[in-house]
Structure formats: C-alpha cells, structure tokens
Symmetry: D2
Subunit: 313 residues, 4 copies
C-alpha cells in the first residue's frame, strides 16, 4: 500500500469514528413515508481513488435510497444521447430555491433552471423516456448504474417507489406544470413513473462511489476502460454539480467542502475530487436545505485533510 | 523560459489575435454614462503564473474601470477584519437573479444572498467603513489594491465615480432597503460614496492579474511573501467566486470556463486557476447577464488549452 | 312597461348595435381546443331587473361555455354548506396575478388567494365533492344552476369538458400542488373531473342572468321566493366578485364598470347591480387579462347609461 | 332632526361606547417613532351625511396623523391636473402585497401597481411636485385639504414629518428604485420631502370626514357648491379605494365593510358611502395588515346597521 493510500485509510477511519460519536445528526426526511423509517444512526463512507484504492468506513455496504443522486446519472445518460440539445429543455444556473420550488418555472416559461432541481431532473427523465416504454427506460437507467458500478446486483426498492408514487403530489405538480408549457413530451404519469423508480434505486456507499469513478477520471470507466462520456462533458457535469448540486445549500457546500457533489434526501451524497477520487457518504439525517447533515461534515473533513479542494491548497 | 511558459505565451497571443478579429463583441454598458464612452474594440489579457511568468496580450496595459471586480478585494479586506462574523450580514448562496435585483432582499429580511451581487457588496463596504471616515475607508481599499498589485500608481477615476454617484439610483434603492432592515450601520450616502469610488478604481489587465495572485497562491502575496489572508479563507473566496461571481450567468461561466472568476460591467474579469495562475481579461462589450462577452470566450479558450479547469482534465 | 324598463330596453338595444359594429374584438381563447372554434363575431346581452323586466340584445339565447363564471355558483353552494369554515381553505384577497398563477401558492403554503382564481375554485369544488361521488357532486352543481335559472334544460357540453380534461395540465399542476399541502381532501383526478365539467356548463346570456338574480336581490330567488343564501353572504359574494372577479384585471373592471362581476374564458361575464339587476354579457374575444373585450365595454356603457355604478352617481 | 339622522346618531353613539369598552385594540405602529407615542386608548368617529347632518362619537375632535389617508387627496389633485395621463405612471390594480413592498416594482419596470401603496403615492406626489418648489407643492396640498374640510386650521405635524424623514429608509428605497426606471421626474429627496410632510398632516375625524364629502357627493364640495372633480372621476377614485385602499387587507375590508375606504398607519380610515355619507374613524391600534383594528370593526358595524354596503341590502 502506498503512503497516500494509508493516509487516506486513516482519514476515512477517523471520520467514521467521529461521525459515529456525534449526537446532532439532523432530521430524517418524512415526506416519503418509506424513507422516514430509516434510523438516523447510520453513517457510511466510501472513497475510491484514481489508482483504484478503496477506503471504506462505517455502514459503507448498507444500501440506501439514492434519490436525487440519481440525477447525476440520468443527466449523463441524456447528455450522451442528446448532446447540447439537452440544454434547450433545462438550464444550468443555480436556482437559489429549494429543490421542489415551482416559482421559477412560472417566471421562465416552464424551463427548469438546472437538471438537479426536481423539475429539471423530471425533464431529463422525460427525454430519456422518449421513444421507449417506461419499463425500457427504467431498464436502461438501471443497466447504466450496474455498468458504472460494475455490480449487477443493484436494484430498485419497489416499496420506496410505490410510497413516492402515492405521495408525490408536488412532483406531479411540477410535471404537469412543465407539460402545460410543452416542456415534457410524454404522458405525465409515465414520466413520473420512471422518475419515481430511478429515485428509488438502492445502493451502498461503495456501489455509489464505484459508479461515480468516471466523473473523477475524465469520463473513463476504469473497470472497462470505456469512455462513458467525453472528458469535456465530464468537466461540465462536475461544474453543474458544484453550482447546483445541493439546491439552495449549493453555495454553502462549495464554500465548506470545495468539491462537486450531489445530494439526495435519502441522506446520500456523491462527491468528486477530479483526478483524485470518487467519494460517497451516507447519513439519513438532513439539514434545513435537505442535504445530509453528517455527510456534509464528513466531506468537509475529508477534503481538508486530503487537500482535495478544487479551490486551492 | 520554461516550455510551459512558452506554451502559455503562444496561447495568450493566439487568444489576443482571435479576439481582435471577432465582430460580435456584445454591448457596452450604458447605465453609467462615463462607461458608455469606452470603445468595444478593446481587448486585453494578462496571465501571471505561480512561478512568476507574465504573459500579456492585446490592451493589457490600458486601464479600465474595474467596477464589480473590486468586490473580491473588499470581501477579502472585510473577511480579514471581521472573520466569519461577516456572514451574519451577507449570505454565500447564488442568487439566481441579476446583479441589481431587490426582490431577494424582501424575501430574506434585507440580508443579501452573497457578497458579489450589488446589495451584498454594499453591505461589505459598509462593514469596512464602520469606525472610519469615508476618505479613510476608501484610502484603505486603494492602498490594499496597490499593495496587492505592487503598484503605487493605481488610482480612482473620479469622473466615473461622479457619474455613478449622479445616476446610481438602483444602488441607492438597495442601500436604503438594507438600511430599513438595519443591515447597514453607516449613513446611506457615506456607504454609497465609498462603494461608488471603489467601483471606479481604474486598473489594467496586468495590474488586476497582479492583484489577484494571492488567490492563486493560497493567500500569499508573492511580491512580499506576506500572507494576505489564510489559505482556508482564500479557498472559500474562490468558491464564492465560482458560484456567485457572474450573477445569473455564474452557472454558465462555471460550465464553460471552469474557473473561479468575478466580472465587472466595465468589461473586466478576474479569474483564478488555483495553484497555477491569476488571470485578468478585459473587453467592454457585455452579454445579456452583464458579463464581458469576449472576456468569457477568451477565458474558455485559455482554460481549455492550458488544461486549467478545476473540474478535471 | 315602465319608463325605466323602456329606457333599459333602448340602452340594451343600443349596446347590441354598437358591439355588432366593432371590429376590434379581442382574441378567442386557444388553450382549450374546443373553445378556439367559437366565432369572435358573437355578442349577447341579457339584463333582468329586480322587478322582473327582461331586456335582451344580440345573441342572448345562444349557449356558450360559462367556464369561470361557474365559480360564483360553486362558491355560493359551498358557503351554504360550510359557512365561514370555507375561508380556512381559501382566502379572499385579490391575487394581483393571472388566473392560473402558481407562484402565490408556494408563498402561502398552498392556500389560494381567493375562490375566483383557478386554484381557489378547485379548492371550493373539492369541498363540494367531499362525501360524494363525482357524479353526485356534479349533479348537485347542475341542479343548482337549473334551479337558479328556473330552466331544466341547462346542460354540460361534454366535448368541452373532454377537451379540457385532455389539456388541463396547468390546472392539474395547481391541484397537485394544493394536494401536496393537504389543501384538497379528494383524489386529484376526481376533483379535477368535477371542476372541468362545471366549467363546461353551457348557458345563454338569458339563462346566466336568470341564475344571477339572487345576487342582485339580497339572496332571494325571485322565481320561487326561496332564500338561496343569507343576505349578508350575498353582499360578501358580491364583494369578492368586485375585488377578485377579473384576475389581474379586477381593478380595471371596478374602475371602468363599477359593478361586481365574474368573467370566464368562454367570453361570458356575469355582473350584478345590487338591488337593481342581474346582467350577463357574452363575446368570445378576450383582452390581455383573459376577460371578454366587448363584454367589458358593453358593461361599462350599461353601467354609465343606467347610472348603476356602486361607486356613486 | 329627521328620523334617519336620529337613527344615525344612535348608531354612532353605540359604536363609540362599544369601541371604548374593547380590550383587544391592535398594536400602535412603531416604525415611525413619533407615532409610537400615541395611546391605543383613543377612538373617534365622525359621519357627515349628504344632507349635512354631522354625527360624532368618541375622540372625534382630536387630531391624528392622517398618513396614507392623504393619498386619496393627492390622487384627486393629480387627477385634476393630469387627467388620465396619470395612469401612465401608476396602475390601478390591487397589488396583493404589503404597503411597502418593492418586489412588484421589479417585475413591472418601476411602475407601481396602484396609487395607494407607498410607491404609487410617491409617484403621484412627484407629479404634483413637477414645476414647483417642494414648499409650493406642499402648500398646494395643504390648501386643498383646508378647502375640502372648510377649515383653515389644518396643519402639518413637523415632529412627525421629521421623524419619518430620519427613518424612512424603505420609502427612500422605493423612490430611488422608481427613479432608476425614470418613473420620478424630480430629485428623490425633494419628492420624499413633500411625501413625508403630506403624510404628517394632522386632522381630526371631523375634519377628515368633512374633507371626504366630495367623494360621497359625485365630486361636489357641499360647502362651496364647487365641483372638486368630475363625477366620473369621483366614482373611479372610490373604485380604487375599494380594491386597493387597505393594501393586502383590501379584500377583507370590502368583504366585511362593503364601502370604499382608505386607511393610514396613524390609525385613521376614511370611508365613503356613495350618495349617503363621508365617514372618518380613528383608533391607533393596527391589525396585521397595518389597518386600524377598531376602525375596521366600527365601520363594519356602521355599514351593517345603516344598510350602507355598496354590495346590496
């Protein structure tokens, strides 16, 4: 083991110990009933470096609902298929608003500000769905995750998907609203069906960090050596993660952590140290902006101790 | 000269040639009468690397009104004096709004979203003014710029300051609005007087790139070896530049250029490649979001050809 | 015939002649495909005075889609059933926004500003639906219209209802949005089904003026002598019509016409001269705020010539 | 004395007794320091009928700061001078927002929604000021009030004006904001100077009811028989009072009281029963929307017992 890998192992282990001991852990999301059952006691971390070293800590093998972290992967899929035409349907500016805000859509004729707020992610999923049956589109998303993570066992938690489908009125509002402006091509129920299922994909920190490797390595999947997406597009996805990945807490995340990242209300965060590492953390308690409370703290410590901030030494 | 320096010289020279030839140059800002007189034909670029190499192109020695680029330096000054208490008066989230929007202030009780929109910069200037006469505060800002750029000739264009003072009603609205919420401590006219003068500082690309070096070098001023501000705060200023430095074009700038940067309506942009270089470009024509049209294109080319994006190779 | 009745007949006849001759007629609503087929050439007017005189002009017997005019009658029904508890679900302030705006809902936790914007009317319909099957609720609304107009032939235009059901994405967005805040009790599709059908009720000006008589006569239906609703509630419905009946054109309507009124995108307007008359006008061309262009002009003339403004002689 | 006058006297006397006894009286405005000193114990009422009967109750002769009630009179003055050209500078739709909101101005290019929110009243005062010195404009406004009230003793409370001038930052924000859009013609300080002084006019309920008589009598001043303003414009001023006179409590006031009215933060309300009476009430405690708490209740009782609602018997 290299000295750098050993240092990383120590840092990851320290973080896991620190997080286990903390009592202030945020609040578990309650608006999706199935998610509300998860214990806030969990914390997991997985770091996979460019040279293939894997550092794990805490509940790094326990699957959780990736929720909005899935938006990074559907954006990648859709960019691969549509290229820059994608940006006719969705912007790439921070919204300055919560994840489920509808106000901005009215001001901007139904075009979502970016692909990482719910409206934008629904629009991206609608593009993936076009020309397919919902089952096919979902199959494509799931296959993509398995391919990226090099793990065929990744699956969808149907209970979570069903729970969201029953209660996702706000997402239904967003989708219908965009539909009224002609921003969605497919029937609202079909697009939402795929969207709720992609959010319900269950992955562990280790699987998620595996899946994110291409973002740290100029678009290349190191398991296969295949180019998942062009290097330039990879940089750009990282840029959108940095500016928009944490809703109205994106500035705070950039300020404290200094890495591109995308959070989900299941408590997971995928973060990228370009050229260095793909990182996944998970802790179900959320802060006021809906991002994992301990996850953000863990990443702040990791970034500082590994000197990984993209904003300088 | 190193091979890297020679490559940089070529790239900078190519960019200057390319920009000189372009006909689509954006529109010069007209809302400050003195700025409206500047010819859109100008383009300048200056790059100063961490090892001290200086690459210049175009009108790199012609002074221009730095306008909002000054906000980076007043933020640095105020962070040095107040530390994290500064963030009680101003946020650090992207606003998703134009530079002079007042809407967000009403929703958030007079606290500006970040220090780079006008309201936020006025609040920062008000903090610098506290305990001083306007003349002293302005003297401190100017001395700081001269110290950073290692150039005692930098001065204020009084005609621009006077022009802005006569016509700056929107800034007066922002300042009075914040004053009504108790966010400003000093008389509105005094704070605005300092603010209008700091915006009217005239600098060339070369001077501006010199002044920005500490942001590329972990907070150290290489001329003197003195630490201008702690390394951690330097990273954080860069993070705020990345997420908020171009108003509602910040996402676009991050997406295309991939470097922290701050623009001004005079057509200047300061950009930072952490650990690598401090960069200033200038061209007076602006795009729809109020950022230099050619300046952004020049930085996009530079970042790509030098492989400087913070979002990966 | 009394002198007053003869004068009214002359005025109504003059108005019908004037409106027939006008060339600037506004634009027919296109967002509901079935409505887009109606010719802008139509104009009808019906005035029924407190002493029972009926003055008709133009296409006063031609049925049209009453659309949002139905909101007056569902509000009456729901107030009758729920009394002031109704105001927990919907406000009574002008919204200052277009009929289908969703922005205000986000700011105010899903509570619509008033019962005459779409969101508010959907919330009122949801209250009428509670405890019933959609078919029963719709039957109750239709029976109420027939009773008020003393005309059992009034019916629903199923083609219009179906057209709206297929394309009413914006209303589906509003309904889902309110549902996410718990403002609706019933399944969204059921509430919307009733709402789209109530809007598709087809009535002539004469039938509509008949149905509105109770609002001009302290809540009493003169056909039967029955009190439809208390006098005090009648005044209050008139007040809400005055302040909120024409969306973001309500101030303009009050300013020019000076009568409580409610418009629909089918081009109909019901207006009330308290103590004097119930008035219905219809012309399918709409102004920018979505209110009948000629209908408003006709009412302005009628109010002036009959000296009916509630704001003084 | 007629029977009607005797009935009115009884009603007014009952109301004064009732209001004196109430303990829930709202909160006195604190944002203007001079106003904060007034005791919430006061209540006054004055009703002047079309036939000249004067009914007084409580502190009907005690002067108070009329504040925004002055907006009715400056609107009248400006309409007399500019006619319908006035509406190019200010709208006549309810704003749906608090009295001092600036959000709407940004959306609508600096044009205030109506003349009764602060921004709109400042724009109207600016029109009165044009072509005059501030002292002359203020003299004209004061003379107009004295003429209407037939009382040369009405004057300005300079302490209140000075208090507001020192603390009126939000109004300064509104004025500067409009100035930035070119909506104001005069220097901001001059327009605000006149505005703060017009708001500081001190009048008793009796004087205010006297001044409002022309609005109840088709524009005629019964003291002199002179037509103050055309009958049609009088109706229209009443209409704007009904829809916009109580900020975001306008719908509530119309719903409960059913009369055009204009409130001020000094606790005064002028209300008009067209053809019947001019009414002034005063009690300094305010409700959440900034309107006199007891004043509104008193007017609701008066309107009901006198059967004066414009919305029907």
């Amino acid at each position: 083991m290299t000295k750098a890998s050993a240092h990383l192992d120590t840092v990851v282990s320290d973080i896991a110990d620190d997080m286990r001991a903390r009592t202030e852990r945020g609040d578990v999301a309650t608006y999706i009933p199935e998610l509300a059952r998860v214990s806030p006691k969990h914390f997991g971390i997985a770091v996979i470096t460019a040279d293939g070293h894997v550092a794990l800590g805490g509940d790094s093998d326990m699957p959780f609902s990736i929720q909005s972290v899935s938006k990074v992967f559907t954006l990648t899929l859709a960019l691969g298929r549509y290229g820059d035409r994608l940006w006719r349907r969705v912007g790439r500016e921070p919204s300055g608003s919560p994840f489920n805000s509808i106000v901005q859509l009215e001001r901007e004729q139904g075009i979502p500000r970016n692909p990482f707020i719910n409206a934008g992610a629904i629009a991206v999923t609608d593009m993936i769905l076009s020309g397919h049956q919902p089952r096919e589109a979902l199959g494509e998303i799931l296959s993509f995750m398995r391919f990226l993570a090099d793990d065929p066992t990744i699956s969808i938690d149907e209970a979570v998907a069903a729970s969201e489908q029953r209660t996702g009125f706000r997402n239904a509002a967003l989708a219908n609203y965009m539909k009224s402006f002609g921003v969605l091509d497919n029937p609202v129920e079909m697009t939402l069906g795929v969207y709720f299922h992609q959010c319900a994909i269950a992955m562990s920190c280790k699987q998620l960090a595996m899946a994110g490797r291409f973002l740290a390595q100029s678009g290349r999947n190191p398991s296969t050596g295949l180019q998942v997406i062009q290097a330039e597009r990879t940089r750009r996805i990282n840029a959108v993660m940095l500016t928009c990945g944490h809703y109205d807490g994106s500035g705070e995340f950039a300020y404290r952590v200094g890495l591109p990242g995308k959070s989900g209300v299941g408590g997971g965060i995928l973060a990228i140290s370009p050229g260095e590492a793909s990182i996944a953390v998970w802790s179900p308690g959320l802060d006021a902006a809906g991002n994992s409370h301990l996850g953000r703290i863990a990443l702040e410590t990791l970034s500082k101790r590994m000197d990984w901030s993209i904003f300088g030494a």
